[in-house]
């Protein structure tokens, strides 16, 4: 159940200024109220995850914890614009949320006439994490517990993503909907259902250990990488990349790496995202069109992110995780990052890394990427042979990159007409407008070559995509 106040507060965050114009000096008062609202929004982004985490540990479920946190936010929106932002806003929000929690428990339990339970629950709420005295470790454990809960495998991928962005990223339902280009009601429902599923499955607020930890952690990493990928190559819509989602995923990854410093795969994932994100600025041409990896201006690659990525990869390796699935993909991305020019790319090393990745977790998409690397290392004919073996793979049935890669290899072999058909098929399969335009352009290039008989290998830069 969501209280009406939490709905009101999302509106309040989105619409400012509030209550302006009533005073003798409306302009100044309006500005003060707007400034306070902007400060509250920023504080919410900083504090909300810790707040919800601390509350969830005490009350045991995300829904109630978020409701209490939102109530505290509404109180802040009512009081801070006139009273000023308190010195310790996080502690203020936590204190307020706990008061609301105690009231709520009393109300509910009185209705149910369970007086003996009231005392016990109120006591728990009065205890719990105290913002003034809590150590960083306590905060960290709470946050980790919240991450594991929001990414629990009992939830669908979509539900995990929405809930994670909401309770850990501090994003509003509207912001999540905008990022994923779906109606607000869809995300709202997804979140409500996710909370209900967690409650019905009696998912406990905990930091799992032992064998369970591996599986649960892999579910967390999957969610973070899904968020990243949605930003990195938007599956639908007119934008090719949505950097805000990449930044959100990177932030979650960096936080997780600090919370679980000895987990190699967490560093592997962070390495992968840092290195891929280093190319964000170079992946878009002047009019918003995609620029494929080997055509990118490497001077525009972000050296800071590359350096951060390589050091995270090193850390994964030093923890014995060089062969983890994310670390392997990061190592492949690092092959590009280390090459000063496209021609200097160490393709044979990349093929070896793909071999290891395929062995570890066979997947048709990995096989396809491996075929691209083989095509670069040992010639297009060798690559095409591998791609042809994947043509009837059901998992790649509507995957636009299969015909795109096949078209590219055919084109290099001078088989322009077949290549054109493949690019056209690829264009019809992608839902991203920018990517479709690129594929249609490549199909047109092939058609032109078919007429003139010009081979693409003379001087035309290779345009493979990995």
């Amino acid at each position: 159940m969501r209280s009406s106040s939490s709905r009101a507060c999302e509106g309040a965050l989105a619409i400012s200024p509030r209550n302006g114009g009533a005073s003798a000096d409306p302009g100044r008062r309006e500005k003060a109220a707007t400034d306070a609202n902007r400060a509250i929004e920023a504080i919410w982004r900083i504090e909300s995850a810790r707040l919800i985490a601390g509350l969830a540990r005490v009350v045991g479920d995300i829904g109630t914890a978020e409701e209490l946190a939102q109530d505290a936010l509404v109180a802040a929106l009512e009081q801070w614009p006139s009273a000023g932002v308190p010195d310790r806003p996080g502690a203020w929000l936590m204190g307020t949320a706990k008061h609301r929690g105690i009231d709520m428990i009393r109300r509910r339990k009185t209705l149910e006439r369970k007086h003996e339970e009231i005392g016990r629950d109120v006591e728990r709420l009065q205890g719990g994490t105290d913002f003034d005295s809590a150590t960083d470790d306590e905060f960290g454990d709470d946050l980790l517990g919240l991450i594991f809960m929001a990414c629990h495998p009992v939830l669908s991928k979509e539900a995990r993503v929405a809930l994670t962005l909401r309770v850990l990223g501090g994003l509003t339902t509207e912001e999540i909907a905008r990022a994923f280009l779906v109606p607000v009601s869809t995300i709202a429902q997804r979140i409500v259902r996710a909370k209900r599923t967690l409650a019905e499955a009696h998912v406990r607020f905990e930091v799992p250990g032992g064998a369970a930890r591996v599986a649960r952690l892999s579910s967390v990493l999957e969610v973070i990488y899904l968020i990243f990928n949605e930003g990195y190559s938007a599956t639908a819509g007119k934008d090719w990349v949505r950097p805000a989602l990449c930044e959100e995923a990177l932030r979650l990854g960096r936080i997780l790496a600090e919370l679980t410093p000895s987990e190699p795969e967490v560093h592997g994932l962070v390495a992968l995202m840092e290195i891929q994100a280093s190319r964000l600025g170079a992946r878009i041409g002047p009019s918003g069109e995609p620029v494929l990896l080997l055509d990118q201006d490497r001077a525009r690659w972000d050296r800071l992110l590359i350096r951060r990525g390589l050091s995270a990869l090193e850390r994964a390796g030093s923890l014995g995780g060089a062969l983890g699935p994310y670390a392997l993909q990061a190592a492949i991305a690092a092959c590009h990052a280390r090459a000063a020019t496209a021609a200097e790319t160490d393709w044979p090393r990349m093929v070896a890394l793909y071999d290891a990745a395929v062995q570890l977790a066979p997947s048709p998409v990995l096989e396809l990427n491996r075929a691209v690397a083989v095509g670069m290392a040992f010639g297009p004919a060798a690559g095409l042979e591998l791609v042809d073996a994947l043509v009837h793979e059901p998992a790649l049935d509507s995957y636009h990159l299969l015909p795109a890669v096949r078209g590219d290899l055919l084109r290099k072999l001078g088989r322009s007409e077949e290549a054109r058909a493949e690019f056209e098929r690829a264009a019809s399969l992608t839902e991203n407008v920018r990517e479709r335009e690129l594929l249609e352009r490549r199909a047109a290039d092939c058609a032109a070559e078919g007429i003139t008989g010009r081979s693409p290998s003379d001087g035309v830069a290779s345009r493979d995509r990995i």
């Binding site: 902007r38 400060a39 929004e41 920023a42 504080i43 982004r45 900083i46 960083d136 960290g140 950097p243 930044e247 990177l250 932030r251 979650l252 990854g253 960096r254 936080i255 600090e258 919370l259 964000l280 600025g281 878009i284 041409g285 002047p286 918003g288 800071l304 951060r308």
Partner: protein, 115 residues
């Protein structure tokens, strides 16, 4: 967005005496909090301007000026690169820094040109 924080610590940045252990501990605690929140991309401190140089450009002419530089209030003593979602978020973080003097400047870094 990425922001650069320039720490203009005033006279303190030029002082030869290091900060007290208590102050150092407070700085470190704040730094750790920032790192744990996934905010810090890069951080560094600068040596006093007495070890610095300036190059002034005037047409084809280049004039090298040795430190120390006079305008102590404007001298950068350290920097952070932060990844934040808004200038307001950077402001909220910066207000929590355990400094009792100086001016800290927040500037957004230009990214994704052409977007």
């Amino acid at each position: 967005m990425r922001v650069l924080i320039m720490a203009k610590e005033g006279n303190q940045s030029e002082a030869a005496t290091p900060p007290t252990p208590e102050a150092m501990a407070a700085y470190q605690k704040f730094d750790e909090e920032l790192v744990k929140a996934g905010v810090v991309l890069e951080a560094g401190r600068l040596h006093p301007s007495s070890q610095g140089k300036r190059v002034r450009f005037d047409g084809k002419k280049r004039t090298v000026i040795d430190g120390p530089f006079a305008e102590t209030k404007e001298l950068v003593a350290g920097y952070w690169l932060w990844q934040v979602r808004s200038i307001d978020e950077a402001l909220e973080w910066l207000k929590r820094a355990p400094y009792d003097g100086g001016t800290f400047e927040i500037r957004e870094v230009v990214e994704f040109e052409g977007m």
